[in-house]
Structures are given as C-alpha cells and as structure tokens.
C-alpha cells in the first residue's frame, strides 16, 4: 500500500473549489451558524463606522472563510488517511456579495513526533482579483497505524 505521507513534499499545493458569495449565501450562513450579527445583514448599519474601520455595506462572516479552508483540508485528508487537527486563520480583507473566493493550501513542512506524523500547511483564501482575504496555518495528522 502506498504511504501517502511519505510521498508528500514541501511546496505541494491543495486547492479547494471556488465559492460564489452572495446576499443569499451570507444569509444561509447566518441560519447555519446562528450568527445574526448585523454586520452580515443590515446595510444601513454597515454604512456607519466601527472605531477606525468602515465597511460601506454588509460583509461575509470571516468564519465562512474558515469553513471553506476546513472543507478543503478534510476533503484532501480523509481519503489519504489523514485527520485535520488544527486550523488558525486571520482575516486580511472583508469579503462582500459578488466576490468569488477560493481556498488553497501549500505544504510547508512534515514532522514526525514520538507517536505520530504531521503535515504543516500554509492556508489562504483569495478573491477574484487575486487578493488574499484570509491567511493562516493548519496541521493534518497522518497516524502511523494507518500507514501499516
């Protein structure tokens, strides 16, 4: 049986499907996450300023980026015998209705520990203009028992 972990290389890229952001997709995310913050619902509210930030209209939930990255990682890891163990993200730019975003990941290192094996990845989400809207890091575990 091919050991997938052994064949992974630094620089290998994983791509997730693109995601079209709309008022409807944001509203659906409200219902699915129970996060009804007016940031995602109320254009009039979003015309105001938030301390030093002004958005001008509703924005997508930052955690929608997180969900897309997580989906890409699990869809890649599960068939390979890997388990998505960690994801850290920060938001770089707001995402608005009409944007199309897409997650990607790049393997940056592999690490063997006393009991297991790990792949470390840089992750990001980009919009249709090639701008990074979210970035972060992830860890996927490839348990030794799975390789036997």
């Amino acid at each position: 049986m091919t050991d997938i972990f052994e064949n992974l290389k630094d620089g290998d890229t994983i791509e997730g499907p693109s995601f079209a952001v709309s008022r409807e997709s944001i509203r659906l995310f409200c219902d699915a996450s129970l996060d009804y913050n007016p940031l995602h619902l109320d254009d009039d509210y979003m015309k105001g300023s938030f301390g030093k930030t002004s958005f001008g209209g509703i924005i997508m939930h930052g955690m929608n980026n997180f969900g897309l990255i997580s989906r890409m990682l699990t869809d890649w890891a599960f068939p390979a015998g890997g388990i998505h163990r960690r994801l850290e993200t920060r938001w770089l730019k707001p995402v608005r209705p009409g944007d199309t975003i897409r997650p990607t990941a790049i393997i940056k290192a592999k690490q063997t520990t006393a009991r297991s094996r790990w792949v470390l990845l840089d992750v990001m989400v980009s919009n249709q203009n090639g701008e990074k809207v979210a970035a972060g890091e992830a860890m996927v575990e490839f348990p030794v028992a799975k390789a036997a």
Partner: protein, 158 residues
C-alpha cells in the same frame, strides 16, 4: 432538554443587557447552554459552506467509513459557538468583529451529541484605538471527551 426553545435572531434585542468591554472580566467563566446537535443542523451547515463529504451526509457511507457513523465537519464549532451561548452573551453584541481564531480538533462531533461549552475571556487589551478580547473555548460531548478547543480574538464595539 436544556436547549433554548427558539434561537433569538435579532441581535439588537436586549443588546443593552450585554457586557461591554469594560465589564468583561478575563478568567471569569461565561454562562453557556448545553446543545443537542442534530443531523438537520449538520446538513444546514454543510449546505452553507458547500460540504458534500458523505461522512457528514450519507449514513450508509459514513457507517462503513473510519468513524463508524455520521460525524459533523470539524468546523461545526462555528455553529456550536452561538448555539451554546445565551442571548445576553456579549458574543452577540452587534458590531463584534472576529479578528482571527485557532482551533484544535480531538474527537468529531456526531448527530445526537449533547454538547457543552466551557468558555471565558482570557485577556483583554487596547491596540491602535481598538478594544480587543481574547477568547478561550472548549467544547465537550456527553462523555466529556474534548471535541475541539479554540482561541480567538474579537474587536468589541465602541
């Protein structure tokens, strides 16, 4: 069931009862509500982020898979965070901005799990005129297994 009968979707309601940044005490446990995760809630979440993995959606395929039954996607904590906090919790304050998060995953959540959240603010600070709170959250299942643990920062409304 300890679950709230109906989720209040108007985050302005009782907004004046929620703690502002000044009143948030780092280290103090937040009041939380046990939540029973349903297959329907998992399916709705999957639809919202485009998840199609049969491990979350197809009972027969999931049963034959590595987890022996349906599981929720790891990122289901996005839903659990709001499902397990009451309406007067400051997570719901309109204008709360998520400034980034990190989550570690242990065992998967499954449909039928009764999920408990232990949560607190761990720290708060002011940076470049913005009011930050550091969050510390751990979700457990009914067997007291850790499902996932997360750390995050929000910028509080002024």
């Amino acid at each position: 069931m300890a679950q709230e009968a109906k989720f209040e979707t108007d985050f302005w309601k009782d907004a004046n009862l929620r703690k502002v940044w000044d009143e948030i005490v780092p280290g103090e446990p937040r009041k939380t509500i046990p939540y029973t995760l349903t297959r329907e809630a998992i399916e709705l979440y999957c639809k919202a982020v485009g998840e199609t993995n049969p491990l979350y959606l197809d009972e027969a395929a999931a049963k034959a898979g590595p987890f022996g039954g349906l599981i929720a996607p790891p990122s289901i904590h996005i839903l659990l965070m709001f499902a397990c906090t009451p309406t007067d919790d400051w997570m719901r304050s309109p204008g709360t901005i998520n400034a980034g998060q990190s989550w570690s995953y242990n065992v998967p959540a499954r449909p039928g799990d009764v999920i408990r959240l232990e949560a607190r603010a761990l720290d708060k600070f002011i940076k470049r005129g913005r009011l930050f709170v550091v969050h510390d959250n751990v979700f457990f299942n009914q067997k007291n297994d850790v499902i996932c643990s997360g750390r995050g920062q929000t910028i509080r409304p002024m």
